[in-house]
Amino acid sequence: MAGFIIRRLLQMVPMLVAIALLIFVLFSVIPGSFATGQQDEGLGLDMAVVTRMRQELGLDDPLHVRFGKYVAQLATLDLGISFRSRQPVADMIGARMWPSLILTAAAMGFAIVIGVPLGFVAALRPGSLVDLGLMIVAVSGLSLPKFWLGILLMYLFALTLGWFPSFGYGDGGLYHLTLPAIALGVSPMALLARTTRAAVLDIMNADFVRTARSKGMNEYRVVVWHVLRNALVLVLTTIGLQFGSLLGQGVVVEKLFAWPGIGSLLVDSVFQRDIPAVQGCILVISLFFLVINTSVDIAYKLIDPRIRYN
């Protein structure tokens, strides 16, 4: 088992290098990119500044040399210096990490706490009005633009009812967190409800559930003893995938609610053409995504004995 975990963790390294390479190449070789400096004159930038930056970035070196340097730099957890603020990008991201994490975690918590039980209830009464209603809610939740939902929530609960602030981080507590977390959490909630429903329906038809019934178990025990855990194993993958992608999806919600996370840093940096910051944000978000997926993989193997000993 320890061997598996180590192997799985080691597999992240080449993937990280590949992501770094992809980002690096994207921002270096695409013609007309602002990193190559071809457009800089048109934008009326001071050519002296441009030249200084090109030297600073080593932009005149051959590509593979630059990539080597970049990776060596990344290996020391150095994400470079921001063009604009002149601060280390790692520090800027570090300061934004916690708000993003609590927003993502809160959204995911909301999605799990609401979505999984809804899926269960729907699956236990397939074809009922409850089932139909819940599935309408689910497919609607998947179709809502997050920022629009955010605007509606903001209008209703902040501006009209005044229950929550309409934007801002405050002290990072529930008061400020609730609306952005719901805006971000509704679509994974909908997806989880659907996944859970499908998983439970699948398992309720399994032979071992028939065995459980043949033992004389009541439906409550059948569900708690035999369906719950097996369904959760199936749902876990979806939870992991959603958790990771929420950090990416959070960009719009962070921007809408002026939430000081990595997402809003990324968008601001894009507008400021702050390449090291943009690269750093993308890299960190991808790293987070990778770590979550790897953890899910490991957790999956821990929970499911069928693959534990492979």
Partner: protein
């Protein structure tokens, strides 16, 4: 009927229907048989003939789109087909237990097999989990699983097919039921393991006085195991005989076909070289059962009456029954 003469289980005029978008179809029609205490009875037929759903209906485990459409199921004289769910649950596992064809999927893949046996003691004997887990190890010992204490901690995928089926038997017999229903218990197993499992089942049930209802497509297996055999075809029982006699004097053309298709030891010596025969034609689907005798399209002895009139179950000598216009 009372006391000792009362059969343990009697199924009377059982009807099970299949409801689809296209309407309701009779999946099982007019099935009657009974099992005495400690008796072994076989139910034989091809897949789809209704034998498995007959078993499920006894357990009260029919699920949509299948449903009970008539008839009585009596356990020790008490009608159980309309019992409230809670009372039926109290019978299931405790008085009637069932083992299934595929022991891999019939066991929960995420639970240790010991726990899955232990559930029986928690459910029906009010044991604590700790007591129950200990009893589960005993149960594994009784089904002759080597190193039972270790095996109890194993998950189903870690056991062989034969071991898994032993676990299923341990679960079924945990609460010493009066009736064990075994639905194709050996079909998914290696041939070498099959007889071990059947012998184990017979031995344990005989020791406990547990009656067996054995369901199989394999006439040879059933006659080896059971005292009496009911042959089902397309939702109806077509013949009922003692196992000893059915090989020598099968009455229904379908049974005769089944017997002729069986390879038998010593047959060559007695009858000389004879080809195994198979029954021509295919089993009809539930939604397209023919009128009259349902076997008539495949029958070599059919006449006009077979195509329109359903033959009655006719009693022959010594409790044998046959459903054919031209039996014998």
């Amino acid at each position: 009927m009372s006391g000792a003469n009362m059969p343990l289980l009697s199924v009377e005029d059982l009807h099970i229907s299949l409801t689809t978008d296209a309407g309701r179809f009779p999946a099982v029609e007019g099935v009657s048989f009974s099992i005495a205490r400690g008796e072994t009875v076989g139910l034989v037929g091809e897949s789809g003939c209704g034998k498995s759903i007959t078993a499920l209906s006894i357990m009260g485990l029919l699920r949509d789109p299948l449903g009970l459409a008539g008839g009585k199921i009596k356990l020790s004289g008490q009608e159980i087909q309309n019992l409230p769910a809670s009372q039926l649950r109290a019978l299931r596992g405790k008085r009637i237990a069932m083992i299934f064809q595929e022991p891999m999927t019939a066991l929960n893949p995420l639970k240790a097999v010991g726990t899955q046996i232990a559930e029986m003691f928690v459910l029906h004997q009010g044991a604590s989990w700790r007591e129950a887990e200990a009893k589960a190890v005993d149960a594994l010992t009784q089904v002759k699983v080597p190193a039972p204490a270790q095996r109890a901690k194993d998950f189903p995928h870690q056991l062989s097919g034969g071991m898994r089926q032993r676990v299923m038997i341990a679960i079924a017999l945990a609460c010493e039921p009066d009736l064990l229903i075994a639905d194709e218990p050996t079909t998914a197993l290696d041939v070498t393991v099959q007889s071990e499992i059947v012998d184990l089942m017979k031995e344990l049930c005989a020791a406990r006085g547990t009656a067996i209802l054995m369901i199989s497509h394999d006439l040879g297996l059933v006659t080896d195991t059971c005292k009496r055999v009911c042959v089902m075809y397309a939702g109806r029982i077509v013949e009922q005989q003692d196992s000893e006699r059915i090989f020598n004097s099968p009455q229904h053309p379908y049974t005769q076909g089944l017997v002729a298709s069986l390879p038998r030891l010593g047959m060559r010596a007695r009858h000389g070289r004879r080809r195994l025969t198979e029954i021509a034609g295919v089993v009809p689907g539930i939604t397209s059962y023919p009128a009259g005798c349902r076997f008539h399209p495949r029958c070599t002895r059919r006449t006009e009456i077979c195509e329109t009139v359903v033959p009655e179950l006719t009693a022959l000598a010594e409790g044998s029954l046959v459903r054919c216009h031209h039996h014998g």
